[in-house]
């Protein structure tokens, strides 16, 4: 278990926080840490910055994330990692499509390899890391396009060489389904599943034999096309196969 002093903690928006810290590690965009809140849970979180000072960005959704959001400068942040693969280095015309907190995973790519950024959220209060020139979609229309970020992406109709996607699985499935079958774009999606171990042994996050934590989290279109469970079903905490009912974004 690594421990590192919090350098800075800031509120991005409503319930979304960023914690900055230093650590002697090498990380690449797309990788994640298993963040441990001692006495509470251990949770996988994308690095929103993959060089010093490193950072994680997360939404408060339970006791453990609330405790994290209450850390102060100098307090210890406990974690192991970084784990998982990373996004490949792109060239040419680049697009990023982020839904919800998927923006945290894409942030370090956007900083390194500028491109068009499409961001979707429920409403304006849940948008973060937004800069001028971004394409914005909100479910309620409180900011930018009213509708899903996938609708917005296709309505713009622009062509890209590389497309990086991170967000709720149903949103990514919707994008996947609407991509032209003969697309020349190289598309990479960072998937999210219930993760318990983070090191490729517990099988909780597996999709058709691919482990999201170890073989991913970033998968290319060829791999995704073989995942019959993608956007359809996932494993619950017991390992039971459950069917997805989340709304698309």
């Amino acid at each position: 278990m690594i421990h590192s002093a919090v350098k800075e903690i800031r509120k991005e928006k409503g319930g979304i926080f960023t914690i900055e810290f230093d650590a002697d590690m090498k990380a690449s965009p797309g990788q994640f840490l298993m963040i441990w809140v001692p006495g509470l849970r251990e949770i996988p979180m994308s690095l929103s910055r993959t060089e010093k000072p490193f950072s994680i960005t997360f939404r408060v959704f339970g006791d453990s994330t609330r405790a994290l959001s209450e850390l102060r400068r100098g307090d210890y942040l406990f974690f192991r990692g970084p784990y998982g693969n990373s996004y490949p280095v792109p060239s040419g015309r680049i697009a990023y499509v982020a839904g919800g907190t998927g923006m945290a995973s894409l942030k370090s790519m956007i900083d390194r390899y500028p491109g068009d950024v499409y961001v979707g959220a429920k409403n304006r209060d849940e948008l973060f890391f937004v800069e001028s020139g971004y394409y914005i979609a909100t479910d309620d229309g409180s900011s930018g396009y009213r509708g899903t970020v996938v609708d917005l992406f296709f309505s713009e109709g622009k062509e890209y060489d590389y497309i990086f996607v991170c967000g709720p699985e149903q949103m990514m499935k919707s994008l996947y389904d609407r991509l032209p079958k003969n697309t020349s774009a190289k598309v990479f999606m960072s998937l999210e599943r219930l993760m318990k171990c983070g090191i490729g042994i517990c099988d909780s996050c597996s999709i058709n034999g691919f482990r999201v934590c170890k073989d991913g989290t970033v998968f290319d279109l060829g791999q995704i096309s073989t995942m019959t469970e993608f956007g359809i079903s996932r494993r619950g905490a017991s390992g039971k196969l459950e069917f997805l009912t989340n709304p698309k974004r």
Binding site: M1, E42, I199, D203, S206, S238, G239
Partner: protein
Amino acid sequence: MPDISTKIQNFSMKTPVMLASGILDESSGSIKRSLREGAGAAVTKSIGIEERKGYDTPVISIISTGLLNAVGLSNPGIDNFEEEFRPFTEKERVIVSIFGKDVQEFLFLSKRVESMGFRVVELNLSCPHVKGVGSEIGQDPETVEEIVNELRRKTNLQIWAKLTPNVTDITKIAKAAENADAFVLINTLKAIGIDIYSRKFLLSNKVGGYSGPGIKPVAQRAVYDVYTETGKDIIGVGGINTWEDAVEFFLLGAKAIQVGTGLYYEDYAIFNKINTGIDAYLEKENFSNLGEIVGLSVR
């Protein structure tokens, strides 16, 4: 080329390396992947009667000599398991691990497993971190004997008993389970871990099981003791990362081995690395088949 196939009673395997219960064996897709990547057979995650979510995270902790885990026997329950595995096409290469709180539960689960078309059950008499099941019943020779004998009488399954090392004398438990077809030795060692900066326990359940390289000598002692005492078929498991580790287990009496935590260190490549390593070793040392070295150092 030497023959590295092996047989546990009438259960044949092309290679002697199996996937151990509890690692990458919750989903049918992952079990298929192990079989595709060189495992001779695979054991499922332990299945109980009811669906169980297991413990909250952290359920795994990495320490210098292995892993600590307290996953908490999370499993979908026998009904959901059947739903997912009924269409599974390689049942002859899969062993179903089951756990229960008493002989009735073990019998019920065994009959379900048998009716699905599986041929072998592995009895989890050894999980060290869930109350009322696993090692809590596996430490009692009378209960172990009752379970094994009842399954022997009432099913046609091949029965493998996975025993706990968390006892004073593992041969006493092995003798109680002597009507089993084989012993799987060993499950994890009951253990605990603490972090000195947070001063909190590493696992949410506090107590867990210790696996990995650090437990190999303990597992090997158990294999040696039970082999010399009973002479029965043994599947060795505990801290195996390399083909050299595997060969040590064979020399001490194991006819096959299982890897679990080894997948953390070597990933799926572990199966074929061990297979080819054993093959090369037998060839170099002038053995024609794996059977020639089983128990060789003990005989």
